[in-house]
Symmetry: C2
Subunit: 329 residues, 2 copies
Amino acid sequence: MANATLKKIAQVLDISVSTVSRALKNHPDISASTKQKVMELAETLEYEPNAVAVNLRSKNTKVFGVMIPSITNNFYDSFVNAVEEEVKKAGYSLMILQSGDDPAIEIENLKIYRQNRVSGVFVCLSKETTNIDAFHKMKEANIPLVFFDKVPDNDAYDRVCLADKEAAEMAAEALLQKKKKNILAVFGNTQLSITKRRLDAFKKIMQQNTSVDVAYEFAGKSEEAESIAQRYFQLKKMPDAVFCMSDEILVGVMKCIQRLHINVPAQTGIIALSDGYFPGIYYPEITYVETSGYRLGKLACERMMECLKGKEETTELFVSSRFAEGGSL
Amino acid sequence: MANATLKKIAQVLDISVSTVSRALKNHPDISASTKQKVMELAETLEYEPNAVAVNLRSKNTKVFGVMIPSITNNFYDSFVNAVEEEVKKAGYSLMILQSGDDPAIEIENLKIYRQNRVSGVFVCLSKETTNIDAFHKMKEANIPLVFFDKVPDNDAYDRVCLADKEAAEMAAEALLQKKKKNILAVFGNTQLSITKRRLDAFKKIMQQNTSVDVAYEFAGKSEEAESIAQRYFQLKKMPDAVFCMSDEILVGVMKCIQRLHINVPAQTGIIALSDGYFPGIYYPEITYVETSGYRLGKLACERMMECLKGKEETTELFVSSRFAEGGSL
DNA sequence: ATTATTTTCGCAATCGTTTGCGGTTCCGAA
DNA sequence: TTCGGAACCGCAAACGATTGCGAAAATAAT
């Protein structure tokens, strides 16, 4: 008998629904014998509480929203993976929606989250989002928000980010230490704050060392990174090292490296900021500074849980970086 | 005023809750003037229906479950991507749970889906699952199930699969057409039915042509594929082509190719079964037979929608394959 | 003016669960 | 015998929305 309810159990035993409810929760008001009977019947009827009804009454759905530009992305994957692992321990589930980097869909999605009364939402902003008014409504609806990765420029929100500054600095210093003198540095979309932070930090280190020549380029997609690399590696004076701000860029650059049969690290060095998967698929493996989506997910969960406990002050938190030696520099 | 309810609107306008409900749904019983007032107030109060309450009453949550071994997997990603895109059109959302290839967690997850009264579940079985009794309960609870990719051997369930046989045949024939005579064919875990199907089809074609030498090897992970390739490419008689059953294997093989500086396709040809992303990151791009997670997702959705409409007969459906010319063969 | 018919709306039940409050029953103590 | 207090359980409201049915008011028909 699937879909048993408290009422059915009550009718069979000829007792009230409230007694059944209390018995199943081991409430002290109920006698041992009654509890026994109720629990046995519940067992044989395969009773399972209707979460929807429980949610309505408790006003707590135990569901978190996760909004990302696209799920087909290694970085977001590992973020989602971490979050799913973590919140499950506390009995929460995930409702994942993709924005497709479209602010209109983003707003639609927020509406869905509100209507479903999720307990909180993890948000990575789309590339195109400039106006974050829509997110205010969530605050009004008392739904905690934790931004990650692409976060708004607003101290009124909780944000967890990669330690972009630190990571870019580590990479820059590694390049200097290896005495690289003619560096191609490829960054992503300049609109993104993530790009700005990495770029600024990288530049700062480089400017301290005037004997180093750095060319800064920007690529929104792998293909652009590939053609940029193509251009530079056909110069008489080839770069002696390439810095890749992201996996996407690394992939593009490496395709060019393969095309031109450039020997790494003999002819040129490579260093990237990465989650760690892609650096491992090449030979030699790429030296990278880790920017872990997984650890970011864990951190975001921690923050979310604090929000649920009523923490008021908003903060910006960072996950630290780690240098991972490959053989490419 | 966030979290407005029908009741609040009713109180303000001094009318009944039912009238408010009908007015918002444009019910003919309600006068135009009343509708006007209700809708305006709903607008200013930013009323949004409580999906939880609606669900309880309608017994329809408009949420699908998606259970996969792990979300950090390109193939499942594109599947989930497709499903999310598709079901959103019909107003559905997704609740994603990972099994971690653990049958016990799988059963736990099914319970969560039942308690949340999801409208249906897309399931990819874990590698370890042998007993599928737990899935019977879903049928009893009247929750439609659509299995994909790793599906049970049971005609009582709906299944959508890649056309493994067809894809493996296409790849095999491409190898023959290119007059390859000494082929290394790397397959995945032999336990998986997906491996068996691909292997059988591939072998069948190859056996029709006795002049071709094929070495069959099996790798559960990228690293294993890499060391297998390493072994074969150090032989006096190098393979003149490699067949890779999956992206995972392709990545491992390609790492070896890079390590040994083997020229593709001059020294050896490569062909793979793949979703299409990884073949594009190498130069030359890898020739592959497409096994699209995305299209599998679309197909699974179609089937799910039919289940909701009450289709009784269960079927096994396949997504066709497509040959994609790279430059690696 | 009286009856018939619309138009317009409210009552109350329902979905399944939880919980404050009050009401029996029963036991032992005064 | 009577009172006090556990021990045990049910009533009813609540969460928010939907809907069949009946009722009042307004309009039309006779």
